[in-house]
Symmetry: C2
Subunit: 329 residues, 2 copies
């Protein structure tokens, strides 16, 4: 499988390196708009010798002058609309896309018309698109969905995820509001410039799979306030009283009844990180992932492992739940 990388941020570089280690993948180049990266040799950017003479191009058109990938890993944006503009020229050329774009998890939820358009373009060109990752993409959606396969009845689902953000990349430490005054945190959360993208998408995907008509989806975000001075390995500095992360919660109701609760805490030095899925049903299930699924490393794995599964699916805009069971590839 000839692959290329779109977006060379921390997740993009991890994905590129992981793909380069796979015997089934041959990396042919990358795309990034950063002028400091364009023209660079990927072996220099990654330290992987197998990527020698694979370069960074400013656009898909420039990449295609040199090689045609079968599949592109897209790790550039969180919003469906922005992702559409980047992905549409790729799939129009019949090239498959695995994307970390949070709103591509279930784009029909964000913009059904645009999703239908992307699906149509894919079917016409023979390409496939899927959005995945660890969250969204696994812990707070796919995993609870799969767990219900052994349930005779499901009344409600609650997922808790606690992430120690100290172990995560700098952009994520910023994205959760580290170092902001609580009021500024709330202002930016309401504006949508900080916070975890994709929580409502995860919730909507679960509802979709279980056939629940969620008539109300609400979401709240609050700062977790630092009790002491914190300084991370990326030199993010948080003073006592400032936000050191977030507590975000999405709730989905059907006919006024709470069906789904997704509760996410990501903050610096969070104790006891874990993921927990509780299904109130028959049988009830209580699943605990001790330590949680570590974010950044696992996200690159989710993207790379999804690639072979995506090629097994029919052309179109696919949901991760429509692919055969994912696994280490």
């Amino acid at each position: 499988m000839k692959i290329a990388q779109f977006g060379l941020g921390p997740i993009g570089l991890e994905t590129l390196k992981l793909a380069a280690s796979k015997p089934w993948a041959d990396s042919v180049g990358a795309i990034d708009i950063d002028p400091h990266k364009i023209g660079k040799d990927l072996s220099h950017l990654t330290g992987h010798r197998s990527l020698r003479r694979r370069l960074v191009y400013p656009s898909i058109d420039d990449l295609l002058k040199h090689a045609k990938p079968d599949l592109i890993f897209h790790t550039a944006v969180s919003k469906f609309h922005a992702a559409f503009d980047q992905i549409e020229p790729i799939v129009r050329r019949g090239i498959n896309v695995v994307s970390s774009c949070e709103e591509l998890l279930f784009p029909q939820f964000r913009d059904p018309r645009l999703a239908a358009r992307l699906d149509k373009i894919c079917r016409r060109s023979g390409a496939r698109v899927v959005g995945t990752g660890v969250n969204p993409g696994f812990v707070m959606d796919l995993l609870p969905i799969c767990l219900t396969s052994v349930c005779r009845d499901v009344r409600s689902i609650t997922v808790h995820r606690v992430v120690d953000a100290s172990t995560r990349r700098e952009p994520l430490q910023r994205k959760i509001g580290s170092g902001l005054a609580p009021q500024e945190f709330l202002r930016r959360f309401r504006k949508g410039t900080i916070g975890h993208a994709g929580l409502r998408d995860s919730l909507a995907l679960i509802g979709h799979c279980l056939g629940w008509r969620l008539d109300k989806i609400s979401e709240t975000g609050e700062p977790v306030v630092a009790k002491c001075h914190i300084r991370t390995q990326f030199l993010v500095v948080v003073k006592r009283g400032q936000a050191c992360g977030l507590h975000q919660r999405a709730i989905g109701r059907e006919n006024g009844r709470v069906r789904l609760t997704l509760d996410l805490k990501m903050y610096l030095d969070a104790p006891d990180p874990h993921d927990r899925v509780q299904i109130q049903g028959d049988p009830p299930l209580d699943v605990l992932i001790r330590g949680g699924v570590a974010g950044d490393q696992a996200t690159s794995a989710a993207l790379v492992n999804a690639a072979p599964q995506l090629l097994l699916a029919p052309p179109g805009l696919r949901l991760i739940t429509e692919l055969p069971a994912g696994h280490f590839a």
Copy 2:
């Protein structure tokens, strides 16, 4: 979807009742060889009024004289060869099958030629077959397989399952050797007349999905010996010193190195029942299902929930890992 039930033991009856509660399923009848059941009305056997005038027939041919199901739930045998003889006449007529037969989880492991033959018959007639359940089918195979989708590397996998057999159906309490003298237990385990069917199948399926060439698969079974007198709700009586269940273990090696360990304890009054999947990899994962996935109820759910997913797959002999993500349907 018109469905029928093949086999009216405890699991079959649960499956039939659960399917009868689904708005998308219309039960048209059942098949069983028990002369006491043939001709009976399914509403009497199950207490479900929606099954009135749905009868038990002695064979697929007799059932087909009255109605043609789209899919049959097959809960009758553990061995692939026996299942083949029962399923072949069904799929030959283009009827899909979801089976609890343990060796149908990964029949290519048991008999690749017969599996290829079944696959060919299915493709020709347009039918699909899949084997699933809770174990095998979920806890000790599909779940660990899916968990590896967020791993950059997987070195080995260990699954522990502890089941309190006191809560399970009588045939299971017998199947795990309850009430046998330890020597007799070992004799019967070696003969294959007691023990959990499907442990090596689970192991082989994981190895298959992860691309591991397991050159050695070993399996051991030992009695768990009762420390006091036990009498179950099904009047199974176990004296002190007799077997009250089993400890079964399968290990898969690749080039002499242990890759997979499946460890199953099923015994009467087992304390702290649970399922635990540990993946030694990057990231490592440690997943605990508190209380475990309750067996019999969950098995009927796994079968019924798999039906809509199976119909989405191309015709042929399918593995549960080849279907789109399963979920409550």
